[in-house]
Symmetry: D2
Subunit: 172 residues, 4 copies
């Protein structure tokens, strides 16, 4: 399959993380590469690096959309680094570059990304991440997964479903 036809799955999560969180991110990235999808992330450390390392370990392709203006700020597992100089506002570009995103844990930065994904109708899979309550009821828009396998499987299905629904010729 050509690069332009591949599904793109984003991984969003904290820029610093503990060992067991890193392992979680690594496995998500590995699975993304194994199902033939391109990994998109914020390009820096923590969960972004974990997922990128996992994807490269499984022979995948990785894209990093950086908050800074230097390509060399990307972690060593990013193939295509895109500097934006937009600071925390580059989060919206990460989300927009994906057919689906997987949120793994995360703080307020990840919260902005989940919110943008919901706003832009990019499907979101959540792995041990934020939950939202409105009018006393939990919002069900984030699809919950129990482990990296399920997260990637869900993201892939949601991405395909979304592409099928597209009103444009499905070039992707």
């Amino acid at each position: 399959m050509e690069m332009r036809e591949k599904i793109r799955i984003g991984v969003i999560g904290p820029h610093q993380c503990r060992r067991e969180e890193y392992r979680l991110g690594f496995q998500v990235g590995e699975n993304i590469a194994r199902v033939g999808a391109i990994l998109v992330c914020g390009g820096l450390g923590g969960m972004m690096e974990a997922a990128a390392e996992g994807a490269k370990h499984a022979g995948g392709i990785t894209v990093g959309i950086l908050p800074t203006d230097k390509m060399s700020d990307a972690n060593p597992y990013i193939d295509i680094a895109l500097p934006t100089a937009l600071g925390p506002f580059r989060n919206m570009l990460v989300v927009q570059a994906c057919h689906a995103v997987i949120a793994v844990r995360g703080g307020y930065g990840t919260l902005t990304e989940i919110a943008f994904a919901l706003r832009l109708r990019v499907p979101v899979v959540g792995l041990a991440t934020w939950r939202f309550i409105r009018d006393g009821m939990e919002d069900q828009s984030v699809h919950r997964a129990a482990d990296p396998d399920e997260a990637v499987q869900l993201a892939l299905e949601l991405a395909r479903e979304r592409l099928g629904k597209s009103d444009r010729p499905p070039a992707y």
Copy 2:
């Protein structure tokens, strides 16, 4: 007091709203003007118009940061309309232009604004709006208010506290 010394309080909320929600927004805007603060909002209809109408009714000043490229898209109660052509991404500019924001109800657009405010450490007061759960516990960063009076009072205190804490000379 000169315009540049005034506190700025943002109102974020849905672009369409029912009559009782509109009344809520109107009262918030009215109170913002009464305490001498400038109202900042997204400049369009619904809760944004409600707050702007309330602020003008009480003789205040209103700023609207628009998602479109036309000043004339602003609702009729906006004094200074700023077109951005940034679509949903102008939300980050609304938040950044404020010393504190009040979220009144709202959908996913409002969710992105609350998330950006938390990320950028702009104090957020919530009036019947989103709640967030992380690791099984509710996040306490959004200050909850019971009514428009309390919301504006809280926002004013938080804005002042933030200005006092600033590492720069408090020009504002």
Copy 3:
């Protein structure tokens, strides 16, 4: 006339300038206020401060769209300061907030603003600023003025003409 009905004229120019350049900017700002228009600029020093000081000296209203995330970075003559944290990319927002812009001298930053204005069809008046050549012929889109009086007069006419041409009800 109410604030929302006022014409907005931008002044774009270098963030550092010599005394005679500052005087030029001051006079432009003064004239903008005298004709009843709002001054919009980048909010920092040099030509931006010159124009803002001139406008305030003549009792006008000033808006500053800042590249940083701090309102307190605005020069002391800005009434409404809008932090953007967008760095050099806030230039596009300055241009977009105006009915016409006046470019006074300037370096590459000013060049980006003139270019954006031409791209977005915001009328540009040039005072001792960049000229452009394409296919061996000078581009005539920048309206040349000989002094601050002529510059503001031209900008005002172009702004009015543009508003008259607008396909939307001329709220402004």
Copy 4:
């Protein structure tokens, strides 16, 4: 050489072009691929498509940074399409993603890209494109090339020189 170590050269030019302009862009893209660089462009038609088609014809890799929110808006020769929904403002992101850019002819959109490149100190090679005059003298910052071969050769040298000068470890 791995993807992340490759030089990135941007091609900026009009979104519509005549046959001889298309051929010029095609040859530029072809040469970029032949020297082993990645082509970055705005992802749409005209000169962007010409360069991308040329690069793919020579077996290269292409990145397209789109003004819209749909990956499927990319021309058929783009490997990695990045939607931004930023309209004409995505131009700054195109420039920032490159080690050097080549401007081929072009209108006001291309003018904004050249201006941003000069502002951000990304080297610019010009092929039959805009020239700039300041204080009665032509600005010499755009490196002029006579044909596609010379343009790519110059861009490659300027990109390498820039990388050598970088204060950071030259990961790229």
